[in-house]
Symmetry: C2
Subunit: 168 residues, 2 copies
């Protein structure tokens, strides 16, 4: 969650910072995905990344709605976790010589990103309920369902196509 | 996965590097957890962290067995993803003034760690099967089941105890 400008004193502060953390993360993902789309050689993987980029843009709009519903300004705060996950993905991609192996590596990297989003949205939904911010629960649940579906789709794509080709 | 000493040419190379990545990650977690145990004030959360530290040590031993079964030397490789996740957790912990809010923040941070492990072990299991490394699948599956159970336990602890107190 980076270096905050203000200390975290209450659960409301922690909630807002976590919202800013995932907002920053989603924005970083929209920068990372086009690179992965450009490098993916497996057509099904490329399509999955393209679809997820469109979804991520909608998820940012949904977060804008969440901030607005809470009477807060939409903004991000540096998130070392997603920065680390993306840094690792970029290093790995650049070190893979074979394009099928690179596809398998990118698929795994995308799943690491999905799992970061799954845990953060899960936490935010739990906190929203406990803090009585019920009006944003449905918005966050919609995104969580999409992230879980994307992760599941990537698992299937790995098992039936991408990793299979790379391991052949 | 850090800066590799050798490029990744085959799926076997990618597999070995991912094994080294999670080995490094598990070792970093055994360093991070004692700090969180020291700072946790909720007794149930403290116990959950203590239990997970014991489990993590067993999971490292299990990874030693995996390396050994594959005829490889057990070693880690710098993993920017877990470093980022732990850096974020430490920054957040230091910025929480209230001990109940800090407990809620640590619970969320621990779940982010769990999800990183869940995605990496999931990938390794899938690759083990595709690469014919069937003798290590059961070992990796044991750890994955533990990570999922810990994540689920933390979710329940948040909903029934830790976050509830912090939000009160």
């Amino acid at each position: 969650m980076g270096l905050f400008t203000s200390p975290i004193k209450t659960m409301d502060d922690l909630y807002l910072h976590t919202l800013q953390d995932i907002y920053y993360a989603e924005k970083q993902i929209t920068k990372a995905l086009p690179v992965m789309i450009g490098k993916a050689t497996n057509p099904a993987l490329k399509r999955a990344f393209e679809k997820h980029l469109g979804e991520t843009e909608k998820q940012i709009t949904r977060l804008d709605e969440v901030f607005s519903a809470l009477g807060e300004k939409a903004k991000g705060t540096t998130c070392p976790a997603i920065d680390g996950i993306i840094k690792e993905a970029n290093e790995l991609i650049s070190e893979c010589d074979d394009h099928e192996v690179r596809d398998a590596a990118m698929l795994a990297a995308a799943q690491a990103v999905e799992h970061y989003e799954i845990t953060r949205y899960g936490t935010l939904i739990s906190w929203s309920k406990q803090l009585g911010k019920t009006k944003v629960v449905k918005l966050l649940e919609q995104t969580l369902a999409e992230e879980k579906a994307t992760d599941e789709k990537l698992t299937q794509l790995g098992e039936t196509n991408v990793n299979k080709k790379a391991a052949a």
